[in-house]
């Protein structure tokens, strides 16, 4: 039996040949079929089976080799071709490098912020439980958990396990090392670190049932910094804010607790068994738990909602409007950073797309220049796939150096990021180029190269010899190609417009924030924060089940002493104390206010910010007085208690009435007294300009309750000193430390800085966002301008003869310029129209970053569009002028 050329075996073999590249298959396929048929005929029975096996292995192996050789050859040829035109290659590589560099930079940040795995066991079952305000129209209004609520959740929940509490990062004064030190800390319930899989470097972790005296674990960095990494740190006493703790273990560096950065120095236990924690008032702790295995999020949410409603009926005073919200940990973590970063990520993607269109245009021009060669080869029988492959290789050859240069740019970009990232994005300053970012870069870069090469490859390989020869060098052809390029440029302009609009809206936002009146004068003011460590000034309350503490009087004497001495420093104009400094450090609680003569059910009490200040506070900040008087030295404990309020307070609490002279009571300690409003001041920006002003009440530090609720502690123990002086630089932090230290060595002065600095820091996120968007837009603009210029320039070359003929027939210079410019204008306007539509659809993504300007702000849109149009026109101008210098004789001779 001989195998015929169309027998099943032969057909199967021919099918196998598709593993080879087309050109090899065409050249040797028939011969290979014959050889295989001959061999097949030589064999019988089972030996045929083994022949098949050997053949398949052989074909696949050699096919891979063959493809690899062809790829190498194509890349080598591409490289040679591109190296022959270094200017074009360099432009393309630089374009890609900018796009890739921007992407790698932003990806690294996104990875660190959002994508990096947390490395906790069972991380996808972990949740955060928030308290919600059912009264609030905004359902996203989450607050944290109150300790007693938490304990009820833990006791009643059957869907959740491993309940734990922790706090966000705080700072405290620790004495235990060689000198008192400000350190960062987190409070955690015993067993949380264990449950998150932390393995201590030395020592142990606090256990849920720990009975040793206040077990504390310290961070590895703090251990090495302050205790030189000594083993005998275990068992050492650490006095934190006047309380004695025992160090039991060291937590490895790099561990981070939920969205908190590493760099925590100390973890202290939350002692829920201690009555001082037994409060339902203020929800201020992060509650975390784990879904029991097999429980869905919905089941847990349903159960928690039910528990919350039981608590609401059991404790209506505090819980009437409280719900509970179960959010997966991975979602809760850095949610706002995510919302902030994704638009930036989108922006850099646009930059890369613009770079791709640039490269595509350059490659199109290259393919056009090779048109004759390609069409001749196609006519001589070169497979179209081979031509496409060759042209695609161009993209890859450009992408590889583009990726390398892009990574270098990303290094620079991240260095820039690290110095500009606002401290508000906590823990995000330490972003490095990491392996995932490099992998992302390689993939994105190669994709970009291929995407850029696809269109030119398809275009170039379509070359038909007839057309090419017909076109000759008259240059009248290539209309299709020109249209493709026009579309690319229009797309580029559209992308650039979207980016520029985003940047424009942010610049607008900043301008509006700057124009916002602060209500005070931040110039020439120094801010120093005092930390009055606890035990000398405070005694624990008797166990009455409420979080109150007695406060001993010396705080007043301390402040009196400090103010007297500071005001005596030469050059000091005025000095004062305040719990909260506008746009600066703040420790003012929100309080409920009752107004004398009105019903005072809880519903009627409204909230206000409660600030404690000394005389001279308003004068130092230069806050305008609207009615009555400022707080003065005569407002002492024994005098009638007084308050100054801001205009917002006056409007809210006394609409249509005169606030001055009214009597109000702050819901605070039992010995709080009614206060008469003696002054109304102008509204002052409290936190940052984009946050609306809240009602605020100012009281003298001398007229305070002795017995204070827990949330008043900041007011009492974290006073801020403000100093106004025309010669601010002469006032040093050490001078202030000396003055304070002379009164009490345990009081720490820290965080000394100018008020301008604090104000700038508050606005730094806006600046960061605006400058990032602005920076990427600038790159996009340059790339687009290069793209427009390149295409226009090429179009002039393409129409060289046409223009020459027109000039020889008497066309004026102006006419020639218009000829080119009109084409550019048409493309630009098309791009602007697409871009405006795209921008309207996308700018709302950054809506939450905007202030005082709508995402579709017509002014911004018009300015950006006109600006882009101007840039496009300038990019057109040079090629147009070149066209007018066209010598008709030379142009025709070139035929």
């Amino acid at each position: 039996v001989t195998v015929q050329e169309n027998s099943a075996a032969h057909r199967l073999f021919k099918w196998l040949l598709f593993a080879y590249p087309a050109e090899f298959r065409c050249e040797y396929g028939v011969e290979m079929g014959r050889v295989f048929a001959d061999r097949y005929n030589d064999e019988r029975g089972a030996r045929r089976f083994w022949l098949w096996i050997r053949t398949i292995v052989d074909v696949l192996g050699t096919a891979i080799q063959e493809r690899y050789r062809i790829m190498l050859r194509d890349l080598k040829h591409s490289w040679r071709r591109l190296a022959a035109h270094p200017a074009i290659a360099a432009t393309a590589i630089l374009s890609l490098a900018l796009g890739i560099g921007a992407n790698t930079t932003v990806f690294s940040v996104v990875y660190a912020a959002v994508l990096k795995p947390l490395g906790y066991p069972d991380v996808d079952r972990r949740v955060i439980v928030y308290t919600t305000d059912l009264n609030s129209p905004n359902r996203g209004n989450r607050s944290l958990a109150a300790p007693l609520d938490f304990m009820d959740w833990r006791a009643q929940s059957k869907t959740l396990e491993e309940f734990h509490l922790f706090t966000h990062r705080g700072s405290r004064t620790a004495i235990g090392g060689p000198f008192p030190e400000r350190i960062t800390d987190q409070l955690v319930t015993g067993g949380l670190l264990d449950s998150l899989g932390v393995r201590p470097v030395i020592g142990r972790l606090p256990r849920p049932d720990d009975v040793s005296e206040r077990p504390a674990v310290i961070g590895e960095a703090y251990w090495r910094r302050t205790f030189s990494g000594r083993q005998d740190v275990l068992g050492k006493k650490l006095v934190v804010d006047g309380r004695v703790n025992t160090i039991v273990g060291v937590v490895p560096a790099g561990f981070e607790l939920f969205d908190e950065p590493s760099g925590i120095d100390l973890w202290l236990p939350i002692e829920l068994q201690n009555p001082e924690w037994h409060s339902r008032q203020v929800p201020w702790l992060m509650a975390t738990a784990k879904l029991r295995s097999g429980v869905t999020l919905e089941q847990a949410q349903a159960e928690m909602t039910q528990i919350a409603s039981q608590l609401a009926s059991a404790y209506p005073e505090t819980n009437r409007h409280r719900g509970a919200l179960v959010v997966p940990l991975l979602e809760a973590r850095n949610g706002w950073v995510e919302r902030l970063l994704y638009p930036l990520f989108g922006a850099v993607m646009f930059v890369l797309l613009i770079a791709c269109t640039n490269v595509a245009n350059l490659l199109l021009a290259r393919a056009a220049a090779r048109r004759r060669e390609l069409s001749v080869r196609a006519a001589l029988g070169a497979a179209r796939t081979r031509l496409v492959r060759e042209l695609l290789a161009d993209g890859i050859v450009l992408a590889v150096p583009g990726i390398v240069a892009g990574v270098v740019l990303a290094y620079a970009g991240l260095a820039l990021y690290r110095v500009t990232v606002p401290s508000m994005i906590r823990g995000m300053s330490n972003v490095d180029l990491n392996t995932p970012a490099l992998v992302f870069t390689a993939i994105a870069g190669l994709l970009a190269g291929i995407v850029a090469a696809v269109l030119p490859a398809v275009e170039g390989s379509r070359a038909d010899l007839n057309d090419t020869l017909k076109e000759g060098s008259r240059g009248s052809g290539g209309r299709v190609r020109q249209r493709v390029k026009s579309v690319l440029v229009a797309v580029q302009i559209a992308l650039a417009l979207v980016l520029l609009t985003g940047a424009g809206l942010m610049i607008n936002t900043i301008a509006r924030l700057q124009a916002q009146s602060l209500g005070f004068d931040p110039n020439n003011v120094l801010v120093a924060q005092l930390h009055i460590t606890g035990n000398r000034y405070m005694t624990d309350a008797p166990p009455r089940g409420i979080d109150m503490r007695y406060v001993e009087p010396p705080t007043g004497q301390l402040i009196e002493h400090v103010l007297r001495q500071v005001r005596a420093i030469p050059g000091v104009e005025s000095a004062a104390i305040g719990a909260t400094i506008p746009t600066g450090p703040s420790s003012s609680p929100g309080v409920r206010i009752t107004v004398a003569g009105r019903a005072s059910s809880q519903e009627d009490q409204r909230r206000s910010v409660y600030n404690v200040v000394s005389s001279g506070y308003f004068e130092t900040l230069r806050v305008r007085l609207k009615r009555g008087r400022y707080l003065e030295d005569k407002d002492v404990a024994a005098a009638p208690w007084t308050a100054v309020v801001n205009e917002k307070f006056a409007r809210e609490f006394f609409p249509g009435e005169d606030a001055l002279g009214q009597t109000i009571t702050v819901v605070a300690g039992p010995d709080e007294r009614p206060r008469q409003i003696v002054g109304v001041i102008a509204d002052v920006i409290q936190y940052m300009p984009r946050v609306p002003v809240q009602p605020e009440i100012f009281t003298s530090y001398l007229q305070q309750t002795r017995e204070i609720p827990g949330n008043f502690q900041g007011v009492r123990f974290r006073p801020k000193l403000i100093v106004r002086s025309p010669v601010l630089h002469t006032i040093k932090a050490e001078m202030l430390s000396d003055i304070v230290g002379r009164f009490d060595r345990d009081v720490v002065v820290f965080g000394v800085n100018t008020l301008k600095h604090f104000a700038a820091e508050r606005g730094s996120l806006d600046w960061f966002y605006a400058s990032s968007l602005g920076f990427f837009s600038a790159i996009a603009l340059v790339l687009s301008a290069v793209g427009i210029y390149g295409v226009m320039n090429y179009s002039v070359t393409d129409r060289f003869q046409e223009i020459g003929i027109r000039v020889s027939l008497g066309a004026s210079r102006g006419r020639v310029v218009w000829l080119i410019a009109a084409y550019g204008l048409k493309v630009a306007i098309a791009g602007l129209v697409i871009g405006i539509a795209a921008a309207v659809a996308t700018t709302r993504l950054i809506e939450r970053m905007l202030f005082g300007v709508k995402p579709w702000d017509p002014l911004t849109f018009s300015v950006v569009a006109l600006f882009l149009l101007a840039v496009a026109m300038i990019a057109c101008l040079f090629p147009a002028l070149r066209a007018t210098r066209n010598d008709p004789v030379r142009a025709l001779r070139a035929e």
């Binding site: 073999f13 090899f24 050249e27 040797y28 011969e31 290979m32 014959r34 050889v35 295989f36 001959d38 061999r39 050997r54 053949t55 052989d58 074909v59 192996g61 050699t62 096919a63 080799q65 063959e66």
Partner: protein
């Protein structure tokens, strides 16, 4: 730039066998395969893929060239593609042979001396 035979060494096993098979006469693919099998007592049986990717490389390197079928070929063989060794191909095959011989001599000197 003259191409030196030594630049091609060492040859891959299939390449060497193909050159040897073509050293006495022009052959087509299947004949090469049979000749190699016969020469090696069936130890080396070139499969179609290895055979033709190697032939392609040898053609690209000018070690062999494709020729018309010889006049005495029978009708079924006439359509086949025949290959012939070039002068460079012969030099390369000889150089490879010399290289292998040197290896064999060296190996023999050490291996056989011990016994």
């Amino acid at each position: 730039m003259a191409v030196k035979p030594i630049d091609f060494l060492p040859l891959s096993t299939p390449a060497f066998h193909i050159l040897v098979a073509l050293s006495d006469q022009e052959r087509h693919g299947y004949a090469i395969m049979q000749d190699v099998a016969a020469r090696t007592n069936g130890a080396v049986k070139l499969n179609a893929g290895t055979l033709y990717t190697t032939i392609k490389r040898l053609v690209d390197d000018d070690l062999i060239v494709e020729v018309d079928a010889p006049a005495d070929a029978d009708s079924s063989d006439e359509r086949r593609r025949y290959y012939k060794l070039t002068r460079l191909g012969r030099e390369v095959a000889r150089a490879e042979l010399a290289r292998l011989q040197a290896i064999v001599r060296g190996a023999a000197a050490t291996l056989l001396a011990k016994t």
